[in-house]
């Protein structure tokens, strides 16, 4: 799990991405792979725009540049996908 170990030794973990509508998708990702890969593939599968989605793990936001090793993610951990909420003027109502 540590960053120092070689890439070949990095274990791959499976992560569950949970969307707001309750549909789950499972991904397998190596610990030193950046999340951007996972996110883009998730958005492709769900036909979403990557810019409008944000991902959380235990209330902490995950950026595309992070890696599972950095966030100490373990096997079968959950990631929540949420849309960026917007709010503005009266034109919305």
């Amino acid at each position: 799990m540590s960053k120092r170990s070689r890439p070949s030794e990095m274990p791959s973990i499976s992560l569950k991405v949970k969307s707001q509508d309750g549909q789950d998708l499972y991904f397998k990702i190596r610990s030193d792979t950046k999340f951007i890969k996972l996110f883009t593939s998730y958005c492709d599968k769900r036909q979403l725009e990557y810019r409008t989605i944000q991902f959380f793990h235990d209330g902490q936001r995950i950026l595309g540049s992070h890696t599972p090793a950095r966030l100490n993610l373990e096997d079968n951990d959950e990631i929540e996908a949420m849309t960026h909420a917007l709010g503005g003027g009266c034109s919305g109502i």
Binding site: R51, G59, Q60, R61, G87, G88, G89, I93
Partner: protein
């Protein structure tokens, strides 16, 4: 959490102790006789009666302070947690003096933080903090003013035989109160000292800058003054100095000629005495001859005019001598020199040369010759010495003549070379001998004798020039650098001030300055943020630095996904910051960042008294219709004190809510005010969606403060209170939403 564990452990230990005591007592009881049993029973009955009387007399004697928090919840709980420690069967000592359960169990640090917070906020309704000492901490309750008398009476320890040290308790309580007040004063003093220290720094900077400027300005004038003075002094002293030098040189010259002559004579004598062999005589004679030559420079012209003839004669005589005396070449040269000096000497030399056939006799004769030479050289007038140059020229001529005539000698070339070399060397030797200063002065005089004043003024002017150059360099480098640094300092200081003070009128959205302001306050000054916020002028123009920052943040050419703000749990990229531009909808990232900031601000007080929940909390709650598991909530928002901490410290909960991905409004759950209520802060209340919004609030809040809160409290509060708590909460919410 750790504290809760500790409490539980202590509870368990106490229970075990109590059981042991009970067992022991029962054993004792069984072993006793019936008479003694009767006696004990009687005593027990008496104790019971006494206790009943006491209880009747003192209807309310809580050992703990009555907890009157600002919410009625606390009051209810304090009523409920009223606890009596009287047990007939067990010794009083074994009963825990600590109360269970405790609503608020604060340590000294927490009390301090609380005081700080109350001070910073200004107090919700000017509560008075009553503190009583407990076993290992303080139990506090903020009591409204009108209830203070009652509560103090409540707080008084019961007048009972179980508590003989009542007075000391009271004393400790008052002492603690005074301590806290002293702490408050100390805090105020500390703040003022900080302010003074800040001002001192700025003051120092100002003084240093002013001094630097003053020095830089005065430097040039000061230098010019010094140079002018130096010039005048040099000019005045120049002439007298010159005169002195000339006089000294004259004296030295006059004195040295005689001494030099004497020296030469002595040397000649010594040499002559030493020389016994002819070979050595030759060499020494050369030296003598050179000395003689130098002395002959002094010879008058008249004699030099008649040199040629003499030489011719001398040549003749030399030839004669050579023919006759092939013994040595040196006497011949000697004779030649002597020709230059004077005729009689030459004649004598001739005679001597003629007389000398053996080397042994030469010594004596040479001595005679030397003596004669001495006398002659002494006779030489000074006037001739003044006209040295001409003499030298003549001498050179004569030397050349001699060269021509002397080609027969053994080493004429070397001889001449020696002569040429030795003349200046001896001169130098002369000059060197008196003193080095005079030497140099003399050199200067020799070189610049004619234009002395000029030559001295030249180095003076040179030095002036060089110093001027230095001055220019100084102006270019040192003060310039000073100015640069000073300008930098002032600029940075200004920018610091203006950064926090000035706002842009360009940005129409008020959210931008607000957010920025908060951030900057957080960055620059961690404390006294409220005061800073008041003193900020929102509509002052941007400074250069702020313009640069704004340009960097709001530049659309740059990467939109670049992360600009990074908090612990939230990040803000450039695309999110674009939502701060005018007439843009605010992104949830910005709100989350603000919430993280507020949480951090709150964490300075140790506990989170006001909870700020992120936007995805309400989002999740609404979209999943309040169904997320409790574990999930605890993990997401509670662990690590991310956004929540212990509920009993909580006074307000801020929940930003989003309506249909188009509108933000805020839900505030307020425990702190007398009326428990939920505020919905909506900038754009809409008639059509109002019901939906309130319903959303209900779903969010009811889940939050219903299930989760109760569940959360369940970990801390013993079971029997749970039902009442539920009832209480339901009451609260029904009053709110009815």
């Amino acid at each position: 959490m750790g504290r809760v564990k500790n409490i539980e452990e202590q509870d368990a230990i106490e229970e075990q102790d109590a059981l042991q005591v009970k067992d022991e007592i029962t054993k004792k009881w069984n072993n006793l006789d019936e008479d003694s049993k009767l006696e004990y029973r009687r005593e027990a009955r008496e104790n019971c009666e006494n206790y009943a009387n006491l209880k009747h007399n003192i209807p309310c004697k809580p050992r703990k302070v009555s907890l009157d928090t600002r919410c009625t919840l606390g009051r209810v709980l304090s009523m409920l947690f009223y606890f009596e420690h009287v047990n007939v069967e067990i010794d009083v000592e074994h009963v825990s003096k600590r109360l269970r359960p405790r609503i608020c169990f604060w340590g000294k640090e927490e009390v301090k933080q609380r005081m700080l917070k109350l001070q910073s906020i200004g107090g919700f309704d000017s509560p008075k903090l009553v503190i009583t000492q407990m076993e290992d901490g303080y139990e506090t309750a903020s009591i409204p003013l009108e209830k203070q008398c009652i509560n103090q009476s409540h707080a008084m320890p019961c007048r009972d035989e179980h508590k003989p040290n009542m007075d000391s308790d009271e004393a400790t309580r008052t002492f603690e109160q005074s301590l806290t007040s002293i702490r408050d004063y100390m805090l105020v003093l500390h703040n003022s000292v900080n302010v003074i220290a800040k001002n001192m720094e700025t003051f120092k900077k100002d003084i240093v800058l002013e001094w630097k400027n003053v020095i830089a300005n005065n430097m040039e004038t000061f230098k010019n003054d010094i140079f002018l003075e130096l010039k005048n002094v040099i000019a005045n002293n120049m002439e007298t100095f010159k005169n002195e030098i000339v006089l000294e040189l004259k004296n030295v010259f006059a004195n040295n000629t005689e001494t030099f002559k004497n020296d030469i004579c002595l040397e000649l004598k010594n040499v002559a005495k030493r020389e016994h062999t002819r070979h050595t005589i030759d060499l020494d004679l050369y030296d003598i001859v050179e000395d003689l030559k130098n002395e002959t420079m002094v010879l008058p012209k008249k004699e030099s005019t008649s040199l040629v003839q003499d030489k011719m004669d001398q040549d003749d005589t030399i030839h004669v001598k050579k023919e006759s005396k092939k013994e040595s070449t040196s006497p011949v040269q000697d004779k030649r020199r002597q020709d230059d000096t004077s005729k009689p000497i030459c004649l004598e030399l001739k005679n001597v040369a003629k007389m000398e056939h053996s080397g042994h006799t030469i010594d004596l004769n040479l001595n005679d010759i030397v003596e004669e030479l001495k006398n002659e050289t002494k006779v030489l007038p000074k006037k001739e010495s003044i006209s040295l140059v001409q003499d030298k020229m003549d001498q050179d001529d004569t030397v050349h003549v001699k060269k021509e005539s002397k080609k027969k000698s053994t080493s004429p070339v070397q001889d001449k070379m020696h002569q040429d070399d030795t003349v200046p060397i001896k001169r130098e030797f002369k000059t060197v001998s008196p003193s080095p200063i005079q030497d140099t002065m003399e050199n200067d005089r020799n070189v610049h004798m004619v234009g002395l004043s000029k030559s001295i003024q030249k180095p003076g002017s040179k030095t002036v020039l060089s110093r001027n150059v230095d001055v220019d360099m100084l102006q270019l480098t040192f003060p310039h650098n000073n100015r640069i640094t000073a300008s930098c300092v002032t600029h940075s200081a200004k920018s610091k001030v203006t950064k926090s003070l000035k706002r842009s009128p360009i940005v129409t959205s008020q959210v931008v300055p607000n957010l920025k302001k908060r951030k900057k306050i957080k960055d620059t000054s961690q404390e006294s943020g409220l005061v800073d916020e008041e003193s900020i002028n929102e509509f002052a123009p941007f400074t250069e630095l702020e313009k640069i920052i704004c340009n960097y943040i709001f530049n659309k050419d740059l990467d939109g996904s670049e992360v600009l703000a990074s908090m612990k749990y939230e990040y803000g990229d450039r695309a999110a910051f674009f939502s701060l531009l005018p007439s843009q909808w605010i992104s949830s990232q910005i709100i989350n960042l603000t919430i993280c900031m507020m949480t951090l601000e709150e964490k300075k007080y140790g506990e989170l008294y006001a909870w700020h929940l992120p936007t995805h909390f309400s989002q999740k709650m609404i979209e999943e219709d309040g169904n997320p598991t409790l574990e999930w909530f605890k993990r997401t928002y509670r662990d690590d004190d991310k956004y929540m901490s212990r509920l009993m410290c909580c006074e307000q909960i801020y929940i930003p809510m989003n309506d249909n991905n188009s509108h933000w409004y805020l839900c505030v759950i307020d425990f702190s005010s007398r009326k428990k209520c939920i505020h919905i802060l909506d900038s754009l209340p809409s008639t059509t969606r109002q019901d939906i919004r309130i319903k959303n609030v209900q779903t969010v809040v009811l889940y939050d403060c219903g299930m989760y809160v109760i569940k959360h409290m369940h970990t801390k509060i013993i079971k029997q209170n749970l039902t009442l708590m539920v009832i209480y909460l339901l009451e609260v919410y029904f009053t709110v939403f009815a």
